[in-house]
């Protein structure tokens, strides 16, 4: 592998930039193979069904494959590499014991009998109990596989709840704040709801008057992230929930920012009817370059009848089974349940990791986590204030949103600043979200970054702000020391190349 070197500005050290890697297909040669599975069996398949299309998968040896993916891995930034301050993503450290423990539950099929999976059921039952306690809710469904699927699940629950009260036909609207994650309105639309957006007030809260005038007998629910995507705790959260309930609607808690509340406050004590948990954020499970996650849905008792089935039942003798009949024979009636989102227990392998984390922290560790996350955000904000604008000036929770509007006027946008950060050796914060802050940079340091790292990150941000003043063109030109320079996303979308062109295969580019 050829190695280029980069010079880190203001440090002067030279570090190698990993070279790019050819595609698997370009490394392959016909006739190479790894002998991982050999079979001399003949398959009895009628000719009409046999594959006639060519199967031009790359042919490689194992050493080639190992180097290929090792080189690709070296092109990635990760939490194991360094600070990853993506706002609302909670990129905290992912403990390694969690991964090892998960492997204890790897060789189990979800269609095994409850009789051969008592450990799974015991663990899942305890996870449900712990999540209920942590969120202040009464019951939990482990089925949703990510936050967005949990939102959709919850809205189906809302729909079933209103249907039960004879109001399904009239309650056709979901309200979301203008600071909401895009998944909220998208989930509502998928669930057949119309979406109404309400604005935020001058302190970054939901505008209560706007909410009250949007509420009515046609509203099914309100989706609220708290702390919201500005990193701010809703100052009148109970009034908000009361207003929604007074209109006969339900309050959905988007738990994306639950890390701030860990051991600090519980959605169930604040008026929410339900909340989802992104365990790949709050409970430290690795996000795997975009997934997997898991999105347990925690609800108050009045929503329990509508939760997905099956449910786990614990017998007096300490044994477990599903509420399908005891012998797995005749599934019990669905009752008011919305049905099934994912068979059995969702992304169980992820949930085992979350459980391990919860057991490691315990009560005191959880409180410390929430408080340290809040402290880290406030500290980092204090360091950045001299150079960047703050959209809403009050103490944030676990994350905060600054604006690069000042820098934009000087010639470099939030995007440019984010790219310059890559040259400084840091991952960028979330940019251009929430939509209500111009040139937004949403920064979430998490509780696991030491003060030295927070200081180094702030120093990098301040250096960039200085450079914007003196040489904005240089910042617009960033990044220069990453494996690739800025990529042309416009052409990628206009002339999509979505797969390797296997020579001679119709349909390929």
């Amino acid at each position: 592998m050829s190695v280029r070197t980069q010079t880190i500005p203001d440090v002067g050290a030279k570090t190698p930039v990993p070279a790019l890697e050819p595609l698997l297909f370009e490394l392959a040669r016909p006739g190479r193979s790894g002998r991982h599975v050999v079979s001399h069996d003949a398959a009895d398949i009628p000719a009409a069904f046999q594959r006639k299309a060519p199967l031009r998968l790359p042919e490689l040896t194992e050493p080639q494959v190992v180097r290929h993916y090792t080189h690709l891995a070296q092109l990635n930034y990760s939490v194991d590499t360094g600070m990853y301050p993506l706002g609302s993503c909670t990129m905290k450290y992912n403990p390694k014991v969690n991964d090892r423990v998960a492997s204890l539950f790897a060789d189990l099929h979800p269609r095994q009998s409850y009789r051969t999976t008592q450990g799974v059921l015991a663990l899942a039952y305890e996870i449900e109990q712990m999540l209920a306690k942590i969120t202040g809710m009464d019951f939990v469904s482990l089925q949703p596989q990510a936050g967005a699927q949990s939102e959709f699940t919850a809205l189906l629950v809302f729909k079933a709840y209103h249907a039960k009260r004879g109001e399904a036909a009239t309650r056709r609207r979901i309200i979301v704040p203008d600071s909401a994650h895009g998944t909220n309105p998208a989930s509502a639309a998928m669930c057949g709801y119309q979406v109404t957006t309400v604005k935020s007030d001058a302190r970054g809260n939901v505008d209560l008057d706007a909410l009250r005038s949007a509420l009515g007998p046609d509203v099914a629910g309100f989706m609220l992230t708290n702390p919201n995507t500005l990193g701010l705790f809703e100052e009148r959260v109970r009034d908000v929930c009361d207003a929604v309930h007074a209109a006969g609607a339900l309050v959905y808690g988007d738990g994306a920012n639950m890390n701030a509340l860990l051991g600090v406050a519980r959605p169930g004590d604040l008026g929410f009817d339900c909340v989802h948990i992104n365990v790949h954020k709050t409970f430290s499970t690795p996000h795997g370059a975009g997934g997997p996650g898991a999105g347990p849905l925690c609800v108050k008792a009045h929503l329990r009848p509508f939760l997905p089935k099956p449910w786990i039942v614990r017998e007096a003798d300490g044994s477990y089974h599903y509420d399908t009949a005891r012998e797995d024979r005749e599934p019990a009636g669905l009752g008011d349940s919305i049905g099934t989102i994912k068979q059995r227990l969702g992304n169980f392998g992820v949930l085992v990791r979350a459980y391990t984390y919860m057991k490691t922290l315990g009560e005191e560790g959880m409180v410390e986590t929430g408080r340290d996350a809040i402290l880290a955000a406030n500290y980092l904000l204090a360091l950045l204030r001299p150079a960047y604008d703050l959209a809403y000036d009050r103490p944030p929770m676990h994350e905060f949103v600054i604006s690069a509007a000042k820098q934009k006027k000087q010639g470099a946008s939030a995007l440019d600043v984010s790219k310059a950060l890559l040259d400084e050796g840091f991952h960028s914060p979330t940019v251009y979200f929430p939509l209500i802050v111009p040139e937004a940079m949403m920064i979430e340091p998490t509780e696991t970054e030491p003060r030295e790292t927070l200081d180094a990150f702030a120093a990098a941000m301040l250096r960039i702000a200085e450079r914007v003043k003196t040489d904005p063109a240089a910042v617009r030109d960033a990044p220069r020391f990453t494996p690739l320079r800025r990529l042309d996303e416009v052409t990628a979308a206009r002339k999509p190349v979505l797969r390797y062109a296997v020579p001679g295969v119709a349909g390929a580019e």
């Binding site: 494959v65 090792t70 095994q112 990510a146 600090v264 169980f348 979505l498």
Partner: protein, 471 residues
């Protein structure tokens, strides 16, 4: 310091940080939280050391009977297959495992190229034009395929075969309650004649019971009626069977778990989602695409993002954000290690062992193979004992199979307008047309000894089965 072992802050750190913030205590930063709601008692117990937590989880894990601890024939969409040693070593590298969604492509080329390669490998395997970067699992991919067909055709009726994996049909019905779709289940044999007015026909091949299905004829019928054809597929089957892209299928979906991903009691797995290029702008989920950087060097980005929720909000093609990117990378590692011949070998082994085992079982008195026609790497065994009783008796002997009863239920019609009523029906009644059987799945991990054990056990049980039936 001390309570959270992953928190680096010493008391001195905290004091210095508080001073910089300008407060004396963290509590001063919590002013927006109602007083009575602050710091509730959780009641979750004290934290454990790593050693303690490992031992605790090992104790719980011992309560399970793992698939590998005895003859194991449960399969379907989730299969116990051989995972080469290099698969977890590579896919679980921290740079893949602990990265987020590749929002900054300049420092995420590993993820983006591996994803592009996954899309390319899967497109080749399925002979489909476009593959997305992943859905959650096979069941949600099937439901999203139905939603996509509804968007493409403007119709609201979905026809799904009863031989499609029952967990997929359950999820489809549950999803369908959102946009209030009409979802009608008919036997595969009646799919083609049910296409009128449908957004799509959903067929599984090989089906949940292992049978091979003439997909081309169903796709033709769908197209003649202006509907799309959705095929639920399994990755290994495509090494030997004509793939969806060669059968006229518009959207191919399925579970990618058999490609080197552990079963893990159901997840995290890999939702495969593929379609025609002409439909790509209606496709859900992230897609990696090739482009150039400012120096003209080839690179990869997430593309066609104007379909997605973070840009389009309520007008997005789906709400999906987090997906199963790591599973897609895992599948790509698996496919690149096995190559075409290794994949064919694994698939062939399953088929050959299933057929050999089926012949042996069918030779036993009172036993028959219940598949209507040719089958792939699993089959349905009918005995006088009944599926549930046989399955439970086999578990007692340390042999795990799946019974078919849960695959069937009456009242397969869901009208969007009355979801509660329609939804109650499918769970009523566990048997249909006397088909109370067991399903036997074979893979390259099925050994001769496993097969012997099953044959012996079935022979023994069905001999005494007459008494069971009489009682």
């Amino acid at each position: 310091m001390g309570n959270n072992p992953y928190s680096p802050h010493t008391e001195a750190d905290r004091a210095a940080m508080l001073e910089r913030v300008g407060v004396r205590d963290i509590d001063e930063l919590l002013g927006a939280i109602p007083n009575d709601a602050r710091h509730p008692k959780l009641g979750i117990g004290p934290g454990l050391s790593e050693l303690e937590v490992q031992a605790h989880l090992e104790r719980i894990a011992k309560l399970n009977t793992t698939a590998g601890s005895g003859p194991f024939f449960i399969g379907g969409s989730i299969q116990r297959r051989y995972i080469p040693a290099a698969v977890p070593v590579l896919a679980l590298r921290g740079e893949f495992l602990t990265a987020y969604t590749p929002y900054q492509p300049e420092v995420s080329q590993g993820t983006l190229q591996a994803t592009f390669e996954y899309q390319s490998l899967m497109a080749e395997l399925l002979a489909m034009e476009v593959v997305n970067s992943s859905m959650y699992d096979g069941s949600s991919a099937t439901a999203e395929a139905a939603f996509m067909a509804v968007r493409v055709t403007g119709r609201h009726k979905v026809i799904v075969a009863t031989e499609v994996d029952f967990t997929y049909r359950r999820t489809l019905r549950t999803y369908g309650r959102g946009p209030e779709l009409e979802i009608i289940e008919v036997p595969t044999a009646k799919l083609a004649s049910s296409a009128e007015g449908a957004a799509c026909l959903i067929v599984q091949h090989p089906d949940a019971f292992g049978s091979l299905v003439d997909v081309r004829q169903i796709a033709d019928a769908a197209h003649a009626a202006g509907a799309l054809c959705v095929q639920v597929t399994e990755p290994h089957a495509n090494a030997l069977l004509e793939p969806p892209g060669a059968l006229g299928v518009d959207i191919a979906v399925g579970e990618g778990q058999p490609l080197g991903i552990t079963m893990s009691y159901g997840g995290p797995h890999l939702g495969i989602f593929a379609c025609r290029e002409s439909l790509v702008r209606q496709m859900p989920g992230r897609i990696a695409g090739q482009t150039l950087d400012a120096n003209g060097t080839r690179g990869f980005v997430n593309t066609l993002q104007t379909r997605e929720q973070h840009i389009r909000r309520e007008k997005a093609t789906s709400n999906i954000c987090t997906n199963e990117a790591l599973a897609a990378i895992t599948a790509a590692v698996y496919l690149s290690l096995l190559g075409p011949e290794g994949l064919r070998a694994a698939a062939r082994a399953g088929v050959a062992r299933a057929h050999k085992l089926a012949n042996r079982l069918a030779a036993l008195p009172g036993c028959a193979i219940a598949n209507d026609g040719p089958f792939f790497d699993r089959f349905t065994l009918r005995t006088e004992m009944g599926g549930w009783d046989l399955r439970n008796a086999l578990i007692a002997l340390g042999i795990q199979v799946e019974a078919t009863a849960s695959h069937y239920y009456a009242g397969a019609k869901q009208t969007g307008k009355e979801p509660a009523q329609a939804n109650a029906k499918p769970y009523v009644g566990g048997r249909r047309e006397g088909r109370d059987d067991v399903i036997v799945q074979c893979t390259e991990l099925t050994t001769e000894a496993d097969a012997d054990a099953l044959v012996d056990a079935v022979a023994q049980l069905t001999r005494s089965g007459e008494t069971v039936a009489a009682r």
